[in-house]
């Protein structure tokens, strides 16, 4: 794929994030949990990259590494042209002007003792982006942007519903006009009828402000709806990356196929006749992942080579990358 440097917001190269397993009073290290094991991808300006996978696959850890809430074990994170993977905390802080984050639980991510106006305006104050007088104007603007009434600015979070809280979290994430917004399961804590409101809001804001999203979620149909490209993760590795349309029309990796076929479709006529791949067993522990391809113990297509050889992501045409030797 030909992309000029300027278009790339984030490039991740061979990112690894291991968490040590310690035991005993001396906290001796006895192993590693390989939460993220050699992941590479890029996110271009004004696009949404969806990251899907089941719980424990490392998708949240990838997001947190990009925000540099974790210091990666190895690999590079090139954010807006500079490598931030090993920068000390004091150098990271100014970079965070360009990063926004929306988390899963809008009840836990807003300080219950601050007014919502204070919460939304906090990034502006921390980064000295607004003087006292400007601040309330800017917060006003942000409230209007996410569809909240600015007169509610002096209330505290518990007076708001889940959907409204997530709007507040979005307003806060956008306060400094970030280059990248990491959305980590932003709708999974909300009621079904509210989810669509938030998805539509995120899509509208992207069109209006030219935002770039990393959208992390486990719900494949939601990720596919909001994303331009989708990366599927399994046990710390990316098994397939392609455009949202292609992922649905032409999935290649056996895990992607199983994941797609497990998503229920609200149409009884289709559901009753649809062939479904039901995976055997469960996701192995990331502390003791299988040799070779991580997916081979549950894969219908596995051959003896799959037990030994770790498949690398390779392009099969049109930007479609897959990590499987049988494809």
């Amino acid at each position: 794929m030909n992309t000029s440097e300027a278009d790339v917001i984030v490039e991740i190269k061979n990112l690894k994030m291991y968490f040590p397993i310690t035991r005993g009073i001396l906290r001796r290290k006895v192993g590693d949990i390989k939460a993220v094991d050699d992941v590479s991808f890029i996110i271009k300006k004004n696009e949404t990259l969806g990251l899907v996978g089941e719980s424990g696959c490392g998708k949240t850890t990838v997001g947190r590494c990009i925000l540099r809430m974790y210091r990666p074990t190895s690999g590079n994170i090139v954010f807006l042209g500079s490598d931030i993977s090993t920068l000390p905390e004091s150098h990271i802080r100014p970079m965070r002007i360009h990063m926004g984050a929306i988390f899963q639980d809008p009840y836990g991510s807003l300080n219950p003792r601050q007014t919502v106006g204070g919460i939304v305006g906090k990034p502006l104050r921390i980064h000295n982006m607004a003087g006292k007088r400007e601040l309330s104007d800017k917060v006003n603007e942000l409230f209007n942007l996410v569809g909240l009434d600015p007169s509610m600015m002096d209330r505290v979070p518990h007076e708001f519903s889940g959907g409204q809280r997530q709007r507040l979290a979005i307003a806060r994430a956008l306060a400094c006009q970030p280059s990248l917004v990491v959305c980590d399961e932003p709708i999974s804590a909300l009621d079904v009828s509210i989810q669509a409101q938030i998805i539509n809001l995120l899509e509208e804001l992207q069109d209006k402000m030219g935002l770039t999203y990393l959208f992390i979620a486990h719900d494949l149909s939601v990720v596919q709806h909001i994303s331009n490209r989708v990366a599927v993760m399994y046990l710390g590795r990316i098994v397939e990356i392609t455009s949202a349309e292609e992922l649905y029309s032409n999935p290649l990796h056996p895990y992607t196929k199983a994941l797609l076929s497990a998503v229920p479709i609200p149409k009884p006529s289709i559901e009753r006749t649809r062939h479904r791949i039901v995976l055997k067993g469960e996701v192995p522990s990331p502390a003791h992942p299988p040799e070779g391809c991580h997916f081979h113990p549950r894969c219908e297509m596995a051959t003896p080579e799959c037990h030994e050889e770790r498949p690398s992501l390779r392009e099969v045409g049109n930007g479609h990358m897959v990590a499987c030797i049988r494809v």
Binding site: D191, A196, Y248, L259, S261, I265, P268
Partner: protein, 330 residues
């Protein structure tokens, strides 16, 4: 087919400091033998409370079943004492329930064996040896490998999906007539969800059990349920055969619920989502009119003056509680 359980005009209220919460306000539904029904709605709509009311598991106080009938095999279960012997022999024996949280619904300090055999010893008068043998068979049946060894394990040694399998084994252990699954797959991943639902269907078919699936996910019931009830704010707003509900929804809430979730294969360019505006109502302060009115796109003048409409037929076995003919307005 004969009606197995018939719930009529069930009303369950909770008394709180802020006022009376009408969690269920006149709910009626039925289930036939060997039938699978789905009960769908958002959190707080009363779907769990209606199941707990059937089982008489409502914490009293603050909750109270104030009116209604629950007819099971010709007997009104609400006539029985909640803690009496008659109810205890039905609960877990003839009507079994699987709860949402497999983590919290198993006792962490008892072995799987103890928890599985307890119900069988109580309901079927088995001695502990026979019960243990049957427990191992059940674990094999629900797909737990090395059941002979794992039966003496504790719940924390099992994964979430495995625990849900144990719950299923426990629920079917006394050959219940009805199995109630309250959000059985909300806490598990999507590939595990498929395994669990298929297993539940297989087990109920094998033991001729009727199945009630309670969920907020429309997709989950589409594959399995023959009939569906849609609940909103403590009432049933639409009921019908599952093909009718999905292909020809009539109540504005059901229409909204189907339109607001992205379907697999849809992208931003193919269809924008149509959200339901506003928020679910506060059950303490319910308007006398239709509770969905503030969020409804189809409303007519009559909706603002008349009380909440009762269910009216719009087709074969298809009922809605709405004054509007949405089919004409669409």
């Amino acid at each position: 087919m004969a009606v197995l359980l018939n719930v009529e005009n069930l009303k369950t209220y909770f008394h709180t400091y802020h006022g009376e919460v009408k969690a269920l306000d006149g709910v009626s539904f039925y289930i036939d033998q060997k039938e699978t029904i789905g009960i769908v709605g958002e959190s707080g709509c009363g779907k769990s409370v209606s199941m707990l009311s059937v089982m008489q598991l409502i914490p009293t106080p603050p909750g109270k079943i104030v009116d209604g009938k629950v007819i099971f095999e010709g007997q009104d279960l609400l006539k029985y004492e909640a803690k009496g012997d008659e109810m205890s022999s039905i609960r877990g024996g003839k009507i079994a329930m699987i709860f949402q949280e497999p983590m919290t619904s198993l006792n962490p300090v008892l072995t799987i064996c103890r928890q599985l055999t307890e119900t069988m010893e109580w309901h079927l008068n088995m001695d502990s040896q026979t019960a243990r043998k049957r427990a191992i068979e059940l674990l094999k049946l629900v797909g737990i490998p090395e059941a002979e060894n794992r039966i003496d394990a504790y719940p924390h040694q099992f994964s979430g999906g495995m625990r849900q399998r144990v719950m299923i084994a426990m629920a079917i252990s006394c050959n219940p007539k009805i199995l109630i699954a309250d959000e059985p797959t909300t806490a598990v991943d999507v590939t595990t969800q498929a395994q669990i639902l298929d297993l539940m269907k297989e087990m109920t078919e094998r033991f001729n059990t009727s199945l009630i699936i309670v969920t907020h996910n429309m997709g989950v019931v589409a594959r399995y349920a023959q009939r569906i009830y849609v609940m909103y704010a403590g009432r049933i707003v639409e009921s019908g055969l599952s093909d009718d509900i999905f292909d020809n929804p009539q109540h504005p809430y059901t229409i909204g619920l189907i339109d607001c979730v992205p379907q697999l294969g849809e992208t931003r360019s193919t269809r924008r989502l149509v959200p339901i505006t506003g928020v679910p109502p506060n059950l303490i302060d319910m308007p006398p009119t239709c509770a969905f009115l503030p969020r409804c796109k189809y409303q007519i003048d009559k909706c603002k003056s008349e009380p909440w409409p009762s269910l009216r037929p719009v087709g074969d076995q298809h009922y809605i509680s709405c004054y509007v003919n949405t089919r004409e307005k669409k």
